[in-house]
């Protein structure tokens, strides 16, 4: 049954291509050919094939008209077929065309009505590798390093239900691969003005911690300021909180008011590193905080965001006689993020109270200023950061990374394409209390998104 059809189709195709090929021949060559019987025969065949092509063209136009009808009118496929213009007497080709047409219509309708994503959970994320005269996290190491492999998942659950999971694999300073569920939050969006999240989230303070997450590619600079690193990378401020978070924005005259309010498990210090107490803490103490900012969007102020933030937590370490500190942090941030500039400044003031050691209240501070320029060839940046941390404050004394320091860094980001960036950084760091060391770093990072 199929052989004659194939033969017909081949013949049609051959003729169509032959016609096209002959039509493409230079006309002088054709006119110069002598009149012969063969040519007359060829002309006859050409005429026949042209007629066939014309018929096929008409058929294609009919089919296109039917598809248009199917796309604009949401009527069942048989009804559309019934309203189509008259077609030639059914042949085997026609029957096949009809069947294909119906399948096409079904596919088209299916595509058009597939509003909700039913293609499963897309897997996206970031990865980076690099090399340096010192490892950017563990400065005792040098050479090549594997950075993060970060998987980001946001299943679409409905109009208002939100979910966000970020699974990060990173190489520890000892070289082992650790997997961390960096964020696991499920939320409900009441309106554009308010979304409530519960779970593990990035603590909303400053700008960097909630704008530049674990994916290195997203950050124009090669790394975060040291004191704002994630906990297991040397950060001294709780980057993650497990709890409840309300966030939203309201549009004002010249921009947008942004707000965040949150509470969660007070973090603890375990082996000298902040731990966000994923499963709860033993004393039921809470971290409570908030952030308010204003994002300008008019004229020269477009891209400027100014804000303040504060939080209070009750943080206990794991010493034999545990130290408890009421950590009070407040400060502000300013961002100027435009098509040309990326400037970021953040300041953190610590007013920590030793709750059971009797050493009183200790003040510390940390901050950074980063200036970046988006040039056509790349994004050069310069950053100055410093932390002046009281070493008699049990909160900093118990932290491996609770060191005061100054760092100056110059770097640049070069985008190889829309998904790949190479970043370079030269930095000089001076430790100002523990160790009193000074060292330089040359770093390169190759970061992608996928």
């Amino acid at each position: 049954m199929r052989r004659p059809m194939n033969s017909t189709r081949h013949r049609l195709c051959a003729l169509a291509l032959l016609v096209a090929a002959i039509a493409a021949l230079p006309s002088p060559a054709v006119s110069a050919a002598p009149e012969s019987q063969a040519l007359a025969e060829m002309r006859k065949k050409l005429d026949a094939s042209l007629q066939m092509i014309q018929a096929l063209g008409e058929r294609v136009r009919e089919l296109e008209a039917k598809q248009a009808t199917a796309a604009t009118a949401a009527t069942p496929a048989p009804a559309v077929a019934a309203t189509a213009s008259p077609v030639p007497a059914p042949t085997m080709d026609n029957a096949r065309l009809e069947a294909n047409e119906q399948r096409l219509e079904q596919l088209e309708k299916g595509n058009a009505s597939r509003n909700a994503d039913d293609t499963g959970l897309p897997l996206h994320g970031f990865a980076d590798v690099g090399a340096g005269t010192r490892n950017p996290i563990n400065t005792n190491l040098k050479g090549f390093y594997v950075g993060n492999l970060d998987f980001y998942m946001t299943p679409r659950l409905g109009d208002r239900t939100r979910a966000l999971f970020e699974l990060n694999t990173e190489v520890s300073s000892e070289g082992s691969v650790d997997v961390d569920l960096e964020r696991a939050q499920i939320g409900y969006q009441f309106s554009d003005q308010a979304t409530v999240w519960m779970g593990r989230y990035h603590t909303p303070y400053g700008y960097v911690n909630t704008a530049l997450h674990h994916g290195s590619w997203i950050n124009n600079s090669l790394r975060r300021p040291n004191f704002l690193q994630f906990e297991d990378n040397g950060g001294i401020v709780p980057a993650h909180t497990v709890g409840l978070w309300v966030t939203g924005s309201t549009r004002g005259g010249a921009g947008k008011m942004l707000y965040d309010a949150y509470l969660g498990n007070s973090q603890a210090l375990v082996n000298g590193v902040l731990d966000m107490r994923n499963a709860g803490n033993t004393d039921g103490k809470l971290i409570i905080g908030g952030r308010v900012g204003f994002q300008f969007n008019e004229g020269a102020t477009e891209g400027l965001t100014l804000g303040v933030h504060a939080f209070s937590a009750h943080i206990v370490d794991d010493a034999l006689a545990p130290n408890a500190t009421r950590v009070l942090v407040y400060g502000g941030y300013a961002v100027y993020d435009t098509d040309r500039w990326e400037h970021i400044a953040e300041i953190y003031l610590f007013d920590n109270k030793d709750l059971n050691g009797g050493s009183g209240t200790h003040r510390s501070n940390a901050g950074f200023l980063q200036l970046g320029y988006r040039a056509p060839w790349g994004t050069p940046y310069a950053r100055y950061e410093r932390a002046a941390l009281s070493q008699v404050d049990p909160y900093f004394a118990a932290q491996v990374a609770g060191v005061s320091y100054h760092r100056v860094a110059l770097g640049a980001r070069f985008d190889l394409d829309l998904k790949t960036a190479i970043k370079l950084e030269l930095a000089n760091t001076r430790l100002t209390d523990r160790g009193r060391d000074q060292y330089g770093e040359g770093l390169v990072q190759y970061a992608i998104r996928f």
Partner: protein, 184 residues
């Protein structure tokens, strides 16, 4: 017999050509639609007025997607769109430029109005559209705009899709790497 053999060979040659040409045509064939009237039609422009793609049939339509807080990819896309506009102006030809917002939460008509004002995109034939999340997702899928949200960021590529004055898809290009001059 000879005709049949030749036909088979020609058929094979045609398939080979199609395979060879596939990469070059991938941009257009990825689109999944061939006409403007197959796209979602319920949009609001930067003035808050309803606008459908079918309203624009009658002149060439150039479609891209963007979001107002993008400072990397979108400015480069807009630079290309401006160049297209200049080229069309030089030729004395007309076209509608349509930019659809990826970010349905932030990119409402007021945001686009401000975006236009800040970037001096005052041409009347440029339309900045906001839509529902479903409409934006469907349009992106149909026209081959790949994107995903990373918190407040939209991870996306740069793409421009061209429709002729009849509303028929005439091509698509990634402006960073592709040459669009042949599509205008």
């Amino acid at each position: 017999m000879f005709v049949r053999h030749a036909a088979v060979n020609l058929w094979r040659a045609a398939i080979a050509c199609a395979v060879l040409l596939a990469p070059a045509m991938a941009d257009a064939s990825d689109a999944g639609v061939t006409r403007l009237d197959q796209l979602p039609q319920t949009w609001r422009d930067e003035l808050g007025h309803p606008l459908a793609f079918t309203d624009l049939i009658g002149q060439r339509v150039i479609v891209s997607m963007a979001y107002t807080r993008c400072h990397n990819t979108c400015p480069a896309t807009f630079a290309q769109l401006r160049r297209m506009q200049e080229l069309l102006d030089a030729r004395g030809e007309r076209a509608s430029f349509v930019i659809v917002g990826y970010d349905t939460q932030d990119d409402d008509p007021a945001s686009w109005r401000q975006y236009r004002a800040n970037r001096h995109l005052a041409r009347g034939n440029w339309h900045f559209l906001s839509g529902t999340p479903q409409a934006v997702r469907q349009l992106a899928r149909q026209l081959g705009f790949k994107y995903w949200n990373y918190d407040t960021h939209v991870m996306h590529d740069s793409r421009i899709v061209f429709f002729d004055s009849q509303g028929l898809l005439s091509g698509a290009v990634a402006p960073a790497t592709g040459d669009w001059s042949g599509l205008l």
